[in-house]
């Protein structure tokens, strides 16, 4: 900080060349401003002269090297590209508009830029990797159960119309599974949700799915795959795990966060940006989906142990499911690549995890 020069210096400190405009007018005249930071004298080509207290002049903030606007007390404007000289004058006169220069000084220092860059990268990574999943999880648990109901409204009806056919299982088999479901598997604390089991067919596909409302669908083909009740329990517990941990709602909240974030960062949502952003968003959602599957696995395995069932049953049914699906595609070597694009973790890993637990339970 330099001390303001004394008045005796006279307005001879600096000469800035630029242009002068009368108030509100486009009539541009070349002009020179003399100032020491305290007083100024403006000489406009063609004779007009103005002078006064430099601290009464309004100076625009510096942005890069764009011209500075100096509005004189009479409303006329002096415009100059001599940014360095203007900065010096502001400093010398301790001008109030000099404070706006802080941001420009940040922008000019290499060390600040590097720091800002690293910090931005860290924040962005942290937000996407930890912040959003954490917030979605917390919000999903905090929202009332009715939200999960409205999220699933009409979904089962829609699936019935387009995908599913009525189950052809014998009533006795269905009743047996239902009874185990109600009496052994549904958690004591339902969290305000209603767990219901539905039997359907889906073109011979062996599958099970859970809606956030607690509606769980089991296909005939999957029931046929299972050789003992524990294997069906394993699948149902996995689906209950999704419901208990509110994975459906979490995914919806994550989607909302990501779309708001994208809107704020890009500021302009057009076809090209959406297409370009679709791929990373897709890969990211795949990651979260695999994580949700692992969590549901853990839930199922923990509760099987609690119920005194052998986690080995979980490994068996997973292997059977993989075998049925694998017949069509085969080619194990592509598994690694698939795992990045898939919504589920690799079956081998899930099976190994279940087996490890099963061994642990025996000892």
């Amino acid at each position: 900080m330099s001390v303001p020069n004394s008045a005796s210096d006279g307005p001879a400190g600096r000469a800035l060349s630029g242009a002068w405009y009368p108030p509100g007018s486009a009539a541009r005249r070349p002009a020179i401003l003399h100032s020491n930071g305290l007083y100024y004298r403006l000489e406009v080509e063609g004779g007009t002269r103005r002078e006064g207290d430099f601290r009464q002049v309004q100076v625009s903030d510096r942005v890069g090297d764009i011209p500075r606007r100096l509005v004189l007390p009479d409303g006329s404007l002096f415009e100059t590209s001599d940014n360095a000289a203007v900065d010096t004058l502001l400093q010398r006169g301790s001008h109030r508009d000099g404070r706006g220069g802080i941001v420009h000084r940040l922008e000019s220092r290499r060390s600040w830029i590097v720091l800002a860059l690293l910090l931005t990268l860290a924040v962005a990574f942290g937000a996407v990797w930890w912040g959003v999943p954490w917030a979605s999880r917390a919000l999903a648990q905090a929202l009332p159960a009715s939200v999960n109901q409205s999220l699933s409204q009409g979904v089962l009806e829609l699936l019935d119309q387009w995908v599913f056919e009525p189950s052809a299982l014998p009533d006795a088999r269905r009743d047996a599974i239902r009874q185990r479901f109600r009496e052994r598997l549904v958690p004591a604390d339902t969290g305000g949700l209603r767990y219901r089991l539905h039997f359907r067919q889906a073109g011979g596909m062996a599958n099970a799915l859970a809606l956030p409302s607690g509606d769980i669908v089991l296909t005939d083909a999957l029931v046929a795959l299972a050789d003992d009740p524990a294997e069906v329990d394993a699948v149902l517990l996995h689906e209950i795990g999704h419901v208990v941990q509110r994975h459906g709602l979490q995914s919806v909240i994550r989607g909302s966060f990501i779309s708001i974030g994208l809107l704020l960062v890009v500021g302009d949502v057009n076809v090209i940006n959406s297409l370009a952003a679709a791929l990373p968003a897709f890969l990211l959602e795949g990651h979260h989906s695999r994580q949700a599957e692992s969590e549901a696995d853990d839930y199922a395995l923990t509760h099987m142990l609690k119920l005194g069932e052998d986690p080995e049953a979980y490994a068996r049914i997973l292997e059977k499911l993989e075998a049925v699906a694998g017949d069509a595609a085969g080619e194990k070597d592509q598994a690694r690549l698939r795992s990045y694009l898939s919504t589920h973790p690799l079956t081998e890993e899930r099976v190994a995890h279940a087996r490890a637990l099963a061994r642990g339970a025996q000892h």
């Binding site: 405009y21 007018s25 486009a26 090297d65 500021g267 076809v271 069509a328």
Partner: protein
């Protein structure tokens, strides 16, 4: 146009922004916005806009932007609140979400009109402010009525089919004459809807550009409906050609594996690698098609609009953007962004602005000295900020 006046000078626009310099401004904006939980974004916006306008030169002077951050902050907070409410409700209660969307649609023309007025009043060149004189009623015609009409015409045949399905009308029992009339009307309606697009686009550009003011002077945009039809027709021909060649290429290279993939997905076993390559190629081709579409309209519409844009008898605009050059800039910008995780953003913006601005020029036929800023009513930034967050700012296509 002014062949009788040999003395007029054509002055090019110049852009003096630099990627490295804008990067510093951008990254500081970003980190301060993050550290202040978004509040600084209003200041960031003013700095960004001042950087781009201040580096846009015509003759010896550059443009400037005068909005104060507080004006923008207020609007931004309200808009963000509305956006949050909408995103949450539309995910949880779709019906209320769609009602809100309907309400937003009704308010949108007003928002756009406000933001046009605000932004032009905050922009100056040679100490004189711009202005916008467009009427609110016309904003409703251009941004709501005409697009709505086009959409309704497009949907009409499908509504007819849906009604027939609900009423349980058996197509075999309908008289041949009735059937022919239905399909005739349906086809007409679809064609009319598509044929409206160039006209709607022209009205939109004419509204936004033709109502601009510079001081007391008026900008006139004498746009030709015929030229817009020409631009769209040529686009259609190119589009058909490109899509045909593109899909033949994908089908020829990866056709078999794509069928295999469909089977793989059905059986739940995942996606083989060759099919993935085919999918990636299709994705890249789609991106390129999007880039080309954007470049086409950007160049053609801007060139035509500027050729018809003049300020009183003082100034005649011109623009000479090339579609190929724009495709190259947009496509390479996308690659730059992808490989730098978005950090190349400042350079891509500077590159694009430089090309677009330096392709513009103006013939000065009179004296700019006589222009004087007009008294203006205070405008809050609300309209402008809602335009920003929801991207309803007029999409001029250039």
């Amino acid at each position: 146009m002014s062949g009788t006046l040999p003395s007029v000078a054509v002055t090019p626009f110049r852009f003096t922004g630099r990627g490295g310099q804008y990067f510093r401004i951008w990254i500081v904006n970003l980190i301060l916005t993050l550290l202040t939980l978004g509040i600084y974004s209003a200041w960031a916006k003013v700095r960004t806009r001042r950087y781009f306008l201040g580096n846009t030169w015509f003759g010896e002077s550059s443009f400037d932007y005068h909005a104060t951050p507080l004006m923008i902050l207020k609007g931004r907070l309200i808009a963000l609140g509305l956006a949050l409410i909408y995103v949450v409700t539309s995910n949880l209660w779709p019906v209320i979400g769609s009602l809100m969307l309907l309400l937003f649609m009704l308010v949108m023309p007003w928002v756009i009109w406000r933001s046009l007025r605000f932004n032009s009043a905050m922009t100056s060149y040679r100490n004189v402010r711009f202005g916008f004189d467009g009427r609110l009623a016309e904003s409703y015609v251009v941004f709501l009525l005409l697009p709505l009409l086009a959409v309704l015409l497009f949907l009409l045949p499908f509504i007819g089919i849906a009604v027939a399905a609900v009423e349980d009308i058996d197509p075999d029992e309908v008289m041949l004459g009735t059937m022919l009339v239905f399909w005739g009307v349906a086809t007409l309606s679809l064609v009319a809807s598509l044929a409206m697009a160039p006209y709607v686009h022209k009205r939109l550009v004419a509204y936004v550009l033709g109502n601009l003011r510079y001081g007391q002077g008026r900008l006139e945009a004498d746009l030709k409906t015929r030229s817009f039809y020409g631009i769209y027709l040529a686009y259609l021909l190119w589009f058909v050609l490109i899509v045909t060649v593109g899909s033949l290429a994908v089908a020829g290279l990866f056709g078999n594996t794509l069928v295999g993939m469909a089977e793989g997905v059905n059986s739940g076993s995942g996606v083989p690698a060759q099919a993935l390559a085919g999918m990636m190629l299709a994705y890249v081709l789609m991106l390129l098609l999007g880039v080309w579409t954007r470049a086409w309209f950007e160049a053609k519409v801007r060139n035509h609009a500027f050729s018809q844009l003049r300020l009183d008898d003082t100034l005649q605009m011109a623009s000479s953007l090339g579609v190929g050059r724009l495709v190259w800039i947009h496509a390479s910008n996308l690659l730059l962004l992808a490989f730098t995780l978005g950090l190349a953003w400042p350079w891509t913006q500077v590159r694009l602005s430089r090309y677009k601005i330096e392709s513009a020029a103006a013939e000065v036929q009179g004296d700019l000295d006589a222009y004087v800023s007009q008294q203006r009513a205070a405008t809050s930034a609300l309209g402008e900020e809602m335009g920003e967050v929801f991207d309803v700012g007029p999409e001029l296509g250039f």
